[in-house]
């Protein structure tokens, strides 16, 4: 169930020309600044915007092909669309809202499935309410349930957290994470927050001025040295997919990743559970010899994969097995250690800086 997107459309003073693909399942972030064309792309995929030229294939089904004259209307595309402003129907109860798409779906979700989604999004006590009696976070969750129960083959999320304050965002984020882990359908998640992307997405497509400037796995793109120039953002540091190996008696949790292990302060979660941690670029130290008698718990053998230096800082990309980290050090340190691609180093990471659940913004 993969998704292929090619679109070209000329607006006055703006040209949209993008081509990208989504994986069979998991979250792909569509990342870019405001005005980059993200919402237009999503509208074209949903069918509420008709581009001059394009081809969109969702799970083998061609829903748009301007050359062949194919245009499947939005009502027949089976894309679940979660709008930034929720767009709940004000004249219906929450229960009627979430069953709106379900009633019109060809292959209806079972009653058990409905109850599972209601439980997943914590809506049990809201079903009889009207949308105007809901908080912003609750509206977002109802909109998610409504889209999910329309039996979509692709879920489109257009900045579902952007309209919420930090507290509501923190409230909805765990539901999105559960959705990512439990739903077996591709999701396109529009965002202009790298924090959200780092926490949720598996793949990322970076759009700038109507063009795709980079696409790939979140782990690769966010540790790329070109992130600053692509996304106008300082390096994210590393996003590392880890598995909880054990909770040690000394209060540390051992996290295994592809290429080594990290020690972090005691985390929630059982052994074997998978999660993501962040290690910021500013918080990694580099050494040429293995330091002894040092408070930092993590001394990772690595090799320099690339360097991007300017007058103020040097970003050093590190390969540690198949996992990448980025260290941001001063150009002076970079020169003193004579760092070059391929050179073996030790990356020193304080346990206290291993961030297991970075808050969204």
């Amino acid at each position: 169930m993969s998704v292929e997107v090619f679109l070209r459309h000329d607006f006055p003073g703006f040209r949209l020309d993008v081509s990208f693909a989504l994986q069979k399942s998991g979250v792909t972030a569509l990342f870019g600044a405001s005005g980059a064309g993200k919402t237009t792309i999503v509208n074209a995929i949903a069918g509420t915007f008709r581009p001059r030229e394009g081809r969109i294939v969702i799970g083998g089904r061609v829903v748009l092909d301007t050359r062949a004259g194919v245009f499947v209307p939005a009502s027949a595309r089976r894309t679940g669309y979660v709008f930034q402003d929720a767009r709940l129907f004000p004249h219906m109860s929450v229960a009627d809202n979430i069953r709106f798409g379900w009633r019109r779906a060809a292959d209806k979700a079972s009653q058990a499935e409905i109850e599972r989604v209601i439980a997943l999004l914590g809506l049990e006590h809201l079903l009889d309410r009207r949308p105007r009696a809901l908080s912003g976070g609750e509206k977002g969750r109802v909109a998610l349930a409504r889209a999910l129960l329309s039996s979509p083959t692709l879920l489109l999320l257009d900045e579902p957290l952007a309209a919420l304050d930090a507290q509501r965002r923190a409230e909805v984020m765990p539901y999105l994470e559960r959705l990512r882990d439990e739903a077996r359908l591709p999701m396109l998640y529009v965002s202009h927050s790298l924090e959200e992307v780092a926490r949720l997405a598996d793949g990322i497509v970076i759009v700038r001025d109507g063009r795709v400037v980079r696409q790939g796995s979140v782990f690769d793109v966010l540790t790329g040295l070109d992130l600053t120039s692509l996304a106008g953002s300082p390096p994210m540091g590393a996003v590392v997919a880890v598995t909880i190996a054990e909770h040690r008696a000394d209060g540390l949790t051992v996290l295994a990743f592809d290429g080594g292990q990290l020690l972090a302060p005691r985390l929630k979660g059982a052994a074997g559970e998978r999660l993501r941690v962040r290690v910021r670029a500013e918080e990694i130290m580099l050494a040429l010899e293995e330091p002894r008698a040092i408070s930092a718990n993590n001394v990772l053998p690595a090799s320099v994969a690339g360097i991007d230096a300017d007058a103020r800082h040097a970003d050093v990309q590190l390969a540690c097995g198949n996992t990448r980290f980025v260290a941001r050090i001063t150009p002076a340190s970079c020169a003193r250690l004579d760092l070059r691609p391929g050179k073996p180093v030790f990356a020193i990471v304080k346990s206290m800086t291993v961030d297991a659940a970075p808050p969204a913004d």
Partner: protein
């Protein structure tokens, strides 16, 4: 009712209500379509259509009555064709009075429905579409329910305005007791007769009571509309 009203007065009241009822509900579907067109679409000549719909507001009702007479008179034109083909006759008939009332109160209905359509979020239609709802489905289940407060307000306003229509009715369908003599025409008739002031006063009082009832209804409809939003 007999205790308060003479048979003539009762006849004028019922006729007024019947004419207004038919006028308002016959015009309603057209008013809804016009409001939908004006609120949700953009097309060449929209300003002209908008202006045409509102013409009855600014034209003297007597002029409208005269124009209707020209178009629907049974001697020639559309009126002759309708009469000869279907046996439908508007002139000198209560249906003609309803037609005149419908045209004059049409802008009130369009305006109220259009306002409620514009107040409803147009994005809800797109949301319904992505959830599998086609055009008619969206019209019936999203657009229409959201326009209901406006439709109710339009009906009440148009009904109240229709009850007071005089110039177009007397010009188009004349002043026939039991057929086209509505309350305003009955007041006018009473004043034409020596000593008819008492009768005119009674009929005017009746008109005031009706007006109060409809103003209250309009107020309730508006409050409902606010509570829903």
């Amino acid at each position: 009712m007999d205790a308060f009203l003479t048979p003539d007065e009762g006849e004028a009241l019922l006729l007024s209500l019947r004419i207004s009822f038919v006028a308002v509900f016959a015009a309603l579907p057209f008013a809804f379509c016009a409001a939908l067109l004006l609120a949700r679409t953009r097309f060449f000549g929209k300003t002209l259509v908008d202006g045409l719909i509102h013409v009855p507001l600014v034209l003297p009702p007597v002029a409208i009555g005269f124009l209707l007479l020209v178009v629907f008179g049974t001697r020639h034109g559309a009126g002759a064709w309708l009469f000869q083909t279907f046996g439908i006759r508007f002139v000198f008939s209560w249906t003609g009075a309803a037609l005149a009332s419908a045209i004059i109160t049409f802008p009130f209905q369009v305006r109220a429905i259009r306002l409620s359509l514009e107040a409803a979020d147009a994005g809800l239609g797109a949301a319904a579409e992505t959830l599998g709802a086609g055009w008619w489905d969206r019209l019936l289940n999203i657009t229409l329910p959201l326009a209901l407060p406006g439709i109710a307000a339009g009906i009440v306003t148009a009904f109240a305005a229709s009850l007071g229509e005089f110039g177009a009715i007397i010009t188009f369908v004349s002043n026939i007791p039991g057929e086209t003599r509505t309350l305003p025409l009955a007041i006018y008739t009473a004043l034409q007769q020596p000593g008819g002031e008492v009768e005119a006063a009674r009929l005017s009082a009746l008109s005031i009571v009706l007006a109060l009832i409809f103003m209250t209804l309009a107020e309730i409809a508006q409050r409902r509309a606010r509570e829903r939003g």
